[in-house]
Subunit: 213 residues, 2 copies
Amino acid sequence: MQLNKDGTINKFDRGRAKVRNHILDSSYAVISETLISNVSMLSLAKAAKVSRQTLYKYFDSIDDIIFALKKRLDEELLDDIIPVFGQSGLNGCEKCLNSIQKFFDLSHADPKKFVFLSRFGTSPTAREVSSFYETLFAKTVGTEQVILQGQRDGSIRKDLDPQMAAFSLVNSTVAIALRLVVTKPQIDFADHSLSSRDVEASFIEQVRRWISA
Amino acid sequence: MQLNKDGTINKFDRGRAKVRNHILDSSYAVISETLISNVSMLSLAKAAKVSRQTLYKYFDSIDDIIFALKKRLDEELLDDIIPVFGQSGLNGCEKCLNSIQKFFDLSHADPKKFVFLSRFGTSPTAREVSSFYETLFAKTVGTEQVILQGQRDGSIRKDLDPQMAAFSLVNSTVAIALRLVVTKPQIDFADHSLSSRDVEASFIEQVRRWISA
C-alpha cells in the first residue's frame, strides 16, 4: 500500500481496499451457507457482482479468500476483547474472567462467525500456520498482561506462571467456545436441563478458583 | 441381527459384520488421507476390494460411512476411558482427573482419530445429532458417577452439582483435546516454549482446584 505525503492512504489503494472488503463480505455470505465443494471462484465473482478477472486480481483461489476471511474474523474478535483488558475500576482477576465471558458472549451474539472459524480451522496451509501462531502469540501476551496486573494488585495468586496460564486460558477458551457453538450440547433431565451456558459458567468458575489469590 | 437359539450371533450375521468392519477399516484409511471432495463411493469400494453393489448393500452414502466411523471411534474412546472409572484404590477425585488425563493421552497416542472426529464434527445430519446427544449423555452419566463417589469418599466438595460438573467436564475436555490435536499450538520464548501438554496440565490443575474438597 502506498501512502500520500501527508501519511493518508492514497485514493487508488483506498479504492482497492474497498473492493477487496466488498468481495470478502459477499464471499463470507456465500461460503457460510454453502458446502465448500459447491463453491467456485466463478460463483464468488457472481455473488460479488465482479468479473472473474477482477476477482483474480484480488485473490488467487478459494483457499486464499477463506484465509483472508479467517484473518478478518480473528481480528474482529480481538478488537472486541481488547476493550475488556482496558476497563477501568477492575482488578486483573476480574478483567481476565470478563475477557473469557466476553468471548463466550460473542459466540452467542454471532454464532455464524464461530462456525466459520471452526469449519476452516482444521486444514491450514503453511501460510495459515504461521499466521495462526502470530495471532496466538498476540492473544497470549494480552492475557498475560492482565494476569501480571492481577498479581500486582493482589487479585491473582503470585505463584501462577503468567505465560503458561495465559497460553492455557487462550487455547481452552477458544476450544470450548468453538465446540459449543458447533455441537450445541444439551441434556434434559426430569426437572432441569443443561446447555452451553452451563459449560461456560462452570469453566469461568473453574478459572476463578484456579487464578484467585 | 438374528441370534441363534443359544444366544450366539448366527453365521450369516457374523459374516456381514466382518465385511462391514472391513469396509469401515479401509474407508477410514482413505478418508483420513484424502480431501473429502475427492472421495467417492467407487474409490471406497476399490479400496475395500469389493464391488460398488456390495458397498451399497452396507452403506447408502459417504455420509453414512462417515457417520458409522465416527460412532465406532467414539465407542473406542469410551471403551478406553471406562476402565479408569473402575480402577481400584483411587478416590473419586483421582478417578475424575485420571479420566481427563487419559483422554488427553489418547489424543497423543492416536491423533488421527481425533483429527477425524474434529473434521466431521461440524455438519451433523439429524440422525447424527440424536446419536451425539446419546453419547454425550452416556459420557456425562459416567463422569457423574465418579463425582458422586468422590463426594461420598470426601475427596470432592459436596456443594458441587454432580450433573452440571460432569456435563461441563465432558464438553470442555473433548473440546480442548480435539482443538489441540488439530491446531498444535506452540509458543517459543527465549528460555522455554509452551505447547499442548502445558494447556492440558493447566486444565487438569484447574479442575483439581475446582472439584477438590
